[in-house]
C-alpha cells in the first residue's frame, strides 16, 4: 500500500552505518515520513548493506578477502550490533526486549512496513562490487542497484536529506 502524495515532498536517507540503533532511527524517520505521504528513498551503502542482507550473504564474495570480509562483517536486520553497550550481543538482545515491552516494532517489521508504505531501498553499487555482494544476497524488498549519481539526483530535489 502506497500512501504517497504528489505535493508532500520527499526524504532521502543515506544509511551508511550497520548498527541496530542507527538503523532503527532511519526506519522510524522513513515510516513517519511515509505516513505523511512523503516519498522516501533509502540509499544503503557500506556497513549499511548489512541491514538488507539475507542469511546466505555470510558466504558471499568472489575472492578470499571478500569472503573473509563478508564472513567477519556478517549481520542481517535480525542480527546487528549496537554503537554503544554492545556487550558481545547482550546489548542488542536487551534493547530488543525493552522495545518489545513498549510495543516498538522490530527492525525486520519496520523494513516490511516501510516497504508496504512505498519506501524504496537502493543498495550502492560500488560497495557491493568491493565487498563481492550481488543483488541475490539482499532481501526481496530491495529495489534496483544504483550509483552515487542516481542518489544525488534524488537528493538534490529532496526536502529532507540525512546521512545516518
Amino acid at each position: 500500500m502506497t500512501i504517497q502524495k504528489d505535493n508532500a515532498g520527499s526524504v532521502t536517507l543515506v544509511l551508511f552505518s550497520g548498527e541496530l540503533d542507527k538503523a532503527m532511527a532511519a526506519f522510524i524517520i522513513a515510516t513517519s515520513a511515509a505516513s505523511m505521504g512523503m516519498k522516501v528513498n533509502i540509499f544503503f551503502t557500506f556497513w549499511g548493506l548489512n541491514i538488507l542482507k539475507k542469511d546466505k550473504a555470510r558466504f558471499a564474495g568472489f575472492n578470499i578477502m571478500q569472503r573473509m570480509m563478508n564472513f567477519m562483517n556478517f549481520g542481517t536486520a535480525r542480527k546487528l550490533a549496537m554503537t554503544k553497550m554492545n556487550m558481545a550481543g547482550a546489548g542488542p538482545a536487551m534493547l530488543k526486549m525493552m522495545m518489545g515491552q513498549k510495543k516498538v516494532p522490530t527492525l525486520p517489521a519496520f523494513i516490511k512496513m516501510a516497504h508496504e508504505m512505498g519506501v524504496k531501498f537502493y543498495p550502492c553499487e560500488m560497495s557491493m562490487k568491493v565487498m563481492g555482494l550481488t543483488k541475490e544476497d539482499f532481501i526481496d524488498e530491495c529495489s534496483e542497484v544504483i550509483g552515487a549519481v542516481s542518489y544525488l539526483s534524488e537528493a538534490k530535489d529532496s526536502n529532507v536529506n540525512l546521512f545516518i
Binding site: 508532500a8 513517519s32 505516513s35 505523511m36 505521504g37 513498549k102 516494532p105
Partner: protein, 79 residues
C-alpha cells in the same frame, strides 16, 4: 458519551512513535472522503503529533476528547 461520531475506530493504545501516525495513515487509506476515524491513544505525544500529521496530509481533526489517560482524536478524511 460523545457527540462526535466515527465511521471507524483505531485502537492505538500502548503504541509509541511512529506507530500511531503510521497506523492512522494506513487506516485512513482504506476509508472514503468525509468519513471520520476515531483514534484511541494513551500516548500524550500523539495529541500533538496527530494534528500535525493531519495538517501535513491535508486531513482534518474534528475533535479531541480526553478521558483520563486516554485521548480520542477524531480525524476526518479529506484527501
Amino acid at each position: 458519551m460523545s457527540e462526535l461520531s466515527a465511521t471507524k475506530e483505531l485502537d492505538a493504545k500502548g503504541l509509541v512513535c511512529p506507530m500511531p501516525s503510521v497506523k492512522t495513515a494506513l487506516a485512513l487509506e482504506g476509508m472514503k472522503t468525509g468519513e471520520v476515524l476515531k483514534v484511541i491513544t494513551d500516548d500524550p505525544v500523539s495529541k500533538r503529533d496527530l494534528p500535525l500529521w493531519a495538517k501535513s496530509t491535508g486531513n482534518e481533526v474534528v475533535g479531541i476528547e480526553e478521558d483520563g489517560t486516554l485521548i480520542n482524536i477524531y480525524l476526518k478524511k479529506i484527501e
